[in-house]
Symmetry: C2
Subunit: 124 residues, 2 copies
DNA sequence: CCTTGACTTGGAGCGCACTCCAAGTCGCAG
DNA sequence: CTGCGACTTGGAGTGCGCTCCAAGTCAAGG
């Protein structure tokens, strides 16, 4: 069980097999996934760890192309840590701005919800 | 100044004129926007208030089709407040789940950032 | 040998939310 | 009247991120 089929990797990561192939094709992984003699992909624990990092970046809204840039930096090896850090910090700022914007919009929606719950009947 | 051109409405709402027309065509507004004798749209303060509500829903991630359903309920007039409330509450739950997911992913990313900042050099 | 099922590929297709284009209209300034 | 700029329309195009399809390969079971 030291490596997983694409179906197993899909289950583990919560992605679909389609998406796993797509990420690999699109350069989001650090290298091509190993193959069994049958030609089937075999995912290692390291692959899964990286894919989880990709998933974290993706589900915080980082575009595919930025994930690809980050992957390229990591792939290039030691020496560009400052660039990686800069990329992550920039992303973090975007995410935080979004979180606070969504939060404030949500409070406005909550206010409207409260009006409906009190049957004060707003016009919208 | 009791009504605005599409360019002014765009500036006020932060949307583009294209998007304002698109929203109207797609049934996201409560009714067709009034026209000047020239045929140009004239946005009232009420229009802008509604568009701001639409913007709040959209930027918290509500899909166009759900905004359209909400608009349809409001357009239908009094009597369906329970449905409107249900729609907003369902949306709010989705948003809150997303906020907490993004938050936890962000904390994981922050951990990685901390590693880089301490020059401990993670492998990714 | 045949079937089954899990996989492979290149490339096409899809849904969403805009975004833009071409051609035309309108009102006004010069 | 001419030109200009802001607008109008239907419909096409764009970018993103998948998502799926057709045709094929492989290994194992019967």
């Amino acid at each position: 069980m030291t490596s997983l089929s694409i179906a197993e990797a899909a289950e583990q990561t919560g992605l679909t097999a389609h998406t796993l192939r797509y990420y690999e094709r699109d350069g989001l992984l650090l290298h091509s996934v190993e193959r069994a003699s049958s030609g089937h992909r075999r995912y290692t624990a390291d692959d899964l760890r990286w894919i989880e990092m990709v998933t974290r970046l993706r589900s915080t809204g980082m575009p595919i192309r930025d994930v690809r840039r980050y992957a390229a930096l990591v792939r290039a090896g030691a020496g560009n840590e400052a660039e990686r850090l800069a990329l992550l910090l920039a992303h973090r700022e975007v995410v935080e701005r979004q979180l606070s914007e969504v939060g404030s919009h949500l409070r406005a929606i909550d206010y409207k919800i409260a009006l409906y719950e009190n049957k004060v009947s707003p016009e919208g």
